[in-house]
Symmetry: C2
Subunit: 145 residues, 2 copies
């Protein structure tokens, strides 16, 4: 029941490619909408994590978001400049940097809910179905329309 050797290296057979392309396509949909909030897709994810739980360390944030300090440190500094978060050393452990929302950061949640709801309703559809074919269908929708 093996796929022929020659078929193995076909782009269409690549589950990874489907994931990669869907992910990029989705981010490309999000970014122009998030721009109205002063967010990028990555900073949007950081805000989502912080709205759920505030005052967490950089490494806890990284574990939630699958991002390392090389990505988070400069991003969080930028978000601090925007006035969305505060960065301060943990007094109990000076190695740790704790990230807290500012008032402005907390207030952004309601606007974000309203702004992103149109995209969310599109994505609502994806939460059931069979993986690979649906990813490919999504792929078409994301790039063709």
């Amino acid at each position: 029941m093996d796929i022929a050797n020659d078929e193995l290296l076909k782009l269409d057979n690549e589950v990874g490619f489907a994931l990669y392309a869907c992910s990029k396509g989705l981010i490309r949909k999000y970014n122009p909408i998030l721009e109205r909030l002063g967010l990028t897709y990555t900073s949007y994810l950081v805000m989502l994590a912080l709205w759920e739980q505030d005052g967490v360390s950089v490494s806890e944030l990284g574990k939630k978001l699958y991002l390392d300090s090389g990505t988070l440190t400069p991003l969080l500094k930028k978000m601090e400049k925007q006035g969305l978060v505060l960065r301060r050393r943990d007094e109990a452990d000076e190695r740790v940097v704790l990230i807290a929302l500012t008032q402005k950061g907390r207030e952004l949640k309601a606007r974000t809910e309203r702004t992103v709801s149109s995209l969310n309703s599109t994505l609502q559809l994806i939460r059931e179905s069979s993986l690979f074919n649906d990813l490919k269908r999504l792929l078409g929708e994301l790039y063709e329309i």
Copy 2:
């Protein structure tokens, strides 16, 4: 049957986040293995496309891979330096740059098949199942082990 407004902005509900994280996790698995072939994940995708069809334009390649000239132009120049591809203007239409495999590029296919087969067999499992839960399960596998 709506999800409460507050639930809409939960990270766990984000289909996009699952796609984004799975995609990154997969690329992180591929890259160290592809490194032995002198490829990155992106140049691997370019090679996949060219092994299927050689002598295509930059824009045709971009359509297949969902990449634009801003990504492809510098990447293809690097791959030309590596001796994997040739870039030449189309004589019939000087706007077009045609990308062709070199002998070295064609010969890389067999080695790549052998090198990537272990990953492919892992991914084989994903081609059926239901989307969102399976993405989350994959996510765990990619990052926990």
